[in-house]
Symmetry: D2
Subunit: 338 residues, 4 copies
């Protein structure tokens, strides 16, 4: 078998506009277990959207973008359901930016022979494949963007904005999250930016320019995200996965305090995860636990214990077809940094 | 707070006929992770339905019936998607038969104060409540049915058939699974029948009639279910949860062999579960693992790692709206035991 | 590769007497997460042992016996740490009785090629193998035992007692749980007895003797187990896995009530499981949830979320070396049924 | 209840030198499931230690340090079992550095009333408590350290080295990981350093010195860690949890390639986690999956699916008492950056 035999069926990203889940979600409200939790999460997101003072921060960790949810995030930005994004570097660079450059994810098998994949330069994410040679082009594009910037210290947000600009001229696929967020003034933060394809490109950039290069300072990210939190009368979190993005966004409440500002906890919070609270790790720690830290309020919080690809399309299609986002004004948070 | 304050909002069972998930499931086919697994499970169930020789055995463990999926199972029987049911006693007696008697499940909270619930005679299943006094009426009704039968050894199937008959005359809610299965000649087996509300009623019955009473012999169940397997050219399993029902239905292949009949493995198998393969327990053991035992074939098998209330409505609504069941003939397996 | 190449390395059952975990467990008391839960579970089992009025009921589901824990259960019976056993049929027949007949479990691989195993008649339990031809000898031995009994209705306890008797004369491995429990008057109940290798033997037995055979009535089991509960001033549960055995033992409190006896809840309860509470299934339902049903008291209960093979040796070695069981009197519950 | 009533019982870190688990681990080798995986993980770590060319990189995510495993990591450094540490900021700053300053973690309850904890300024990690006022002192100490440094761009490693220096003079508890690693020339990397208590201190530092301050560039971390990988003939990973530290360390193989060096994959890898592979997230992705990316070799890799506090003491006590580390030479990787 050759590489092309493995990379035959591209993952197609689900279009939540093409079906309407309002009836399903309304029915699930009167069920129990994960069905009811999913319905409650849908409602809370819609409540956030109807709260005219609320800034909605979406946190993305994990590989949902590779798994067919990429267009959902684009639609959320385009239809004004989200104002700020905090994500893992992989979600933004290895997955979204990669597809913007014209490449694809492919349907694979979780039980694949990894040795064979290795020989063919195919990378596996559970049951999904990526062409490693395409990923290297992605690394190099990051390097080119870095090379073209003035040397200095950047937040990941600033760098990702440059990636958005780059795509305006160079994207093969126009509908990426990086570009759409750029065009809609939705800032994207990657607090662990170097832990991704971006890291490879930036290491190469710094290696070639040891004395005069771009650095990525996530302290600056933290200051900027906290600035948004401080300027938002109310805030809500919509969390896919967990990890660093979740914690980083939650911590802005404390960070504002550290800077001497008394800000309210995040009023709304939804988290979709399969992680478990019992090992005390960040991804699984409950939103209730976060309330002991003063990060998240408990009136409108919902954990949904599910793999996101199965419930996220239901939740966002519901909110999309409710159309409450139509009357919502744009927050344009990117503009405060200009 | 009084009991009635806790038992205010009944669980309403989702009606998968009232919305159409074909577009969602078709989209999920091209995604990854649980979304794709869910789509594949939907397809396989539909393939089973189109296989004119296939007997479809549905296995139910866990509390999905309490959680709002009860009507799904009824619709599956009514619309000829399932020919045999193997279930936990609780799913059939404590949940379905209880509601047939006019009682309800109620929306509750997983973080409830269990001491307070105890004092009010409210039983909790995760985030769902039951009125224990109503459950006692259920126990007693089982006892009455047993008292009215000729003493002797029964399979659970035979006893549940009597419960179906009872409901024809006495049901408060006409649309129960026990009654619908009875009316459609779909046999129901509960291999651990006494491990349920039925157990309480039957113990009381035997206690009052120590020498001359009804006994429930699950070996008889095993013989009967194996009889169905032996008479079916092809068979498929649709498994919700795991536990004894899953194992019992899988084992009919081996049991037929033991009786000297060479029957094919179950050709199709779908399992929806959150259980984990790593502890070697029955619920989590994969369908691939079952193939090493010669129980399940591997061409059409799919594990869906999800809490069933969130994905089952999608799967069954898809199959329902595909309408392939319309041309399927009834198997009437109950009739072979008459 | 031939069969013997796969069945080379037998699983050896851990001997908790050969090392002393008191220091580890004492250290774990002052840690957090699963370590502290494990220590607390160890303490509670030891408290049960020191409670002179307490009957200790051990519930076993899952495949820990195949995975190297078989000798632990034997040692618990031999050293008076357990008075009653409620187990899955597989744990008692397919695993323990199988080894008593001289057969073994073998170390395998979870990622094995199941098709190849199938061809070689090797059955797989996660990373453990069984020789299917040996399992068939086990089935047939059950049939022989049934053939030798007077026809009639038996509880599983009565039948398993006969298996114990059989082993006294015929065991190849003397140290089985079935035989040790028989010799120590510790009754064993399998509420879903036919869902195991025993089921195959008994079906064959009934098939050959359609009119005059042994039946297994788990209602009788329920009456007998409830009888023990009613005669015990105090009771405690030590649960490995979950499933039917857990629920069955918990339900004796309610069953006693149904029979008009006001008995206390199980005062102590420990459960070791990897199952999750969120799907409302029996295995994962918490002991706190069971307290809403009036089954388990909340003063001394502990869930340990771990795969049992990793923590059970620590817990039982601790209790063994504490030696408090030395002054405990035998309960001899089997004798009340003679 | 007052704060002091909640913060009464400090977590005590387990001392794996005080008991010997060699017999337990040797027994577990012949069991199955998690027991055998734990034994195999122990063996692989010991093989790494005996490989004279191997650099051992330990990755720590999650809250095991708060949960009683903190001294384990110190003992590993002190006894030459680990050469490089890649960790979450929380593990290093919020937990280890916090205790170095004289503060404690406390035993709490997972079912605590988080509202009450909030009012008392107690932060909860599952069943463990922290005094938030002490954490603020930790934040401020970080700020002081930053204030005392020359402005410029630092890797987290460089900054953490300064924390180690600070502790040499100021530590209340001498035996911290930060100080011990500093004294043993074991570099510590936190690729998401600002996502921790350090982030608060550094934001305050930058806020007060907007034009002339310390920045933390994780690209620099990536270059440095890759440098170590390139200079190591062989490397092995010992991973607790998953998240960014795991991915970051794995990625050094690719990063070396990007820099034009052909380095071998990590030859050894052990991961202890409760995360699940099925959602495609980093923490749960298997080491086999990593081999498709060319990051980890498959000859000596072992996933252990367990909450680390329960198995890590067994594994490290085994390796400690094997004493093979006694003949191992120190790698002193910190020195290459001087």
């Amino acid at each position: 078998m050759e590489k092309k035999d493995f990379l035959k069926e591209p993952v197609k990203h689900i279009d939540i506009k093409s079906f309407d889940t309002i009836d399903i979600i309304e029915s699930m409200k009167d069920m129990s277990f994960t069905a009811r939790d999913t319905a409650r999460a849908s409602e809370i997101l819609n409540i956030m959207i109807n709260d005219t003072e609320c800034t909605i921060i979406m946190c993305i960790a994990g590989s949902t973008s590779a798994a067919g949810c990429m267009q959902i995030y684009v639609d959320m930005v385009r239809h004004n359901m989200v104002d700020v994004i905090v994500a893992s570097g992989a979600a933004i660079v290895d997955m979204d930016f990669l597809e913007a450059l014209g490449f694809k994810h492919y349907k694979g098998r979780a039980s694949a022979d990894d040795k064979q994949l290795r020989e063919l330069y195919i990378d596996r994410i559970y049951d999904t494949y990526i062409d490693e040679e395409q990923l290297q082009i992605c690394d190099n594009t990051i390097k080119e963007i870095a090379d073209a910037l003035s040397p200095g210290v950047y937040s990941s947000r600033e760098f990702i904005k440059e990636m958005g600009k780059y795509l305006v001229d160079n994207a093969k696929k126009k509908d990426s999250l990086v570009q759409t967020a750029f065009e809609n003034n939705v800032p994207i933060f990657c607090p662990a930016f170097s832990d991704s394809s971006a890291g490879f490109g930036l290491v190469k950039h710094q290696h070639e320019k040891p004395d005069n290069h771009v650095s990525i300072d996530s302290v600056k990210d933290f200051r900027e995200l906290t600035e948004i939190k401080m300027r938002s009368p109310i805030s809500g979190l919509f969390i896919i996965g967990g990890g660093v993005p979740k914690n980083f966004a939650q911590d802005t409440v404390i960070c504002a305090e550290v800077l001497g500002h008394d800000v309210p906890m995040h009023k709304y919070a939804v988290q979709i995860t399969v992680a478990d609270a019992r090992d005390g790790a960040c991804s699984g720690s409950t939103l209730k636990e976060a309330s002991s830290w003063g990060k998240v309020d408990t009136g409108f919080e919902q954990m949904v214990y599910a793999e996101a690809s199965s419930v996220l399309p239901l939740i966002i299609s519901y909110v999309y077809h409710k159309k409450d986002w139509e009357k919502r004004s744009k927050r344009d948070w990117s503009k405060i940094f200009e």
